[in-house]
Symmetry: C2
Subunit: 214 residues, 2 copies
């Protein structure tokens, strides 16, 4: 069973992930070429906020202040977002799908290592909710019109992956409780490697769905 | 009974009001001095998005595309927001309460002039939802610490009122259907004057609640 501070850390990291995703998706909605696209990206943001609220509620049930639980993860997540600030609508769409998908896969894996209630909540807040259809539609339409952007977007996705891995490593190096949770949960380094392989495979699936090389 | 195009215009204006409020509140949340304040302002933003969704749904039921219905009101609302961009957290809190309150009072008055279903929806999406307590708490705490800011915030509120009136006049001058709805609904110019008095009184009540001179 995971130590209580590992659960608080995990929920805190995820809660700040949702709160910062809300913030940045709401911002990125301004890049939309149409009111309809803007409304769709804003809907993703609003949904993240709903998830944040559920996670904050769970933290309070466990006797933790959400602000305190989130504080250790603010720097890493804001660094990720500042290094992956989309400069076009399509970059923001790819980030909303690929970046979020990566993070969701990671949290879903770790959710298996905590108590059932917390695990169920984490899986519940990580629903995809139409994000895939939205991203595939926007990217496919754009690539059909201008095939040359596929290469640029594939590079962009690689940057998202690189920065996500880099910040995850920073967080794990800094929070022993999370590192222990991951290593004990997977069993050993072979287990960690298998987890990374599963996450990488799912990432490749999303890139294929977008029609981009991973 | 209001003409169908007046109803579409009214719902379109309100829908874009909610979508732009979402956008600007999410932005203003970044001014919060704490994660708790940021989460509270973000919650207001997410709530506005929920309202936008209800209004867009109603527009679709009436056979209108939300994007088309909103388009005529984008310029006026964005002008309002660009002229009232908060530069401090307290300015954003006062705007969220006073600016939103003014707009809500106006729409609530006009809701009396349209069909019952539309009117009920409009009243439903304009709930205050804890905004007053939030704003009063933040502003009262700040004024208690530093009484001199009360005067600056009162001036700021006057600017919000001035810009809101100015943009409302632009919209009414531009959209005959809404002007007719207002004049026919209130009966005559005396009725319009009475409506303005009611809105002004409620505004004064909010300023008193904040401990500011109106």
């Amino acid at each position: 069973m995971a130590a209580p501070d590992a659960v608080t850390d995990l929920l805190g990291a995820l809660a700040y992930g949702e709160l910062s995703a809300f913030d940045h998706l709401a911002d990125d909605a301004g890049l939309a070429p149409s009111l309809a696209g803007r409304a769709e990206m804003s809907a993703l943001a609003a949904e993240e906020f709903g998830h944040y609220r559920q996670l904050a509620e769970r933290l309070r049930e466990l006797g933790a202040q959400p602000e305190d639980a989130m504080a250790p993860f603010v720097a890493a997540l804001e660094t990720y977002h500042s290094l992956t600030k989309p400069s076009t609508w399509l970059e923001s769409v790819v980030k909303a799908y690929v970046g979020y998908g990566l993070a969701a896969d990671f949290y879903r894996e770790v959710a298996a290592f905590v108590d059932d209630d917390t695990g169920a909540l984490i899986k519940d807040v990580l629903t995809d909710a139409g994000r895939a259809e939205f991203a595939v539609r926007e990217v496919a339409a754009a690539v059909a019109q201008q095939p040359s952007i596929a290469g640029r977007l594939a590079l962009w996705a690689r940057r998202l992956v690189g920065e996500a891995i880099s910040q995850t490593q920073h967080v794990l190096a800094d929070r022993d409780s999370l590192m222990l949770l991951l290593v004990e949960g997977t069993g050993d380094l072979t287990g960690v490697a298998a987890l990374i392989t599963r996450i990488t495979d799912r990432h490749a699936g999303r890139m294929t769905a977008l029609g981009l090389h991973s």
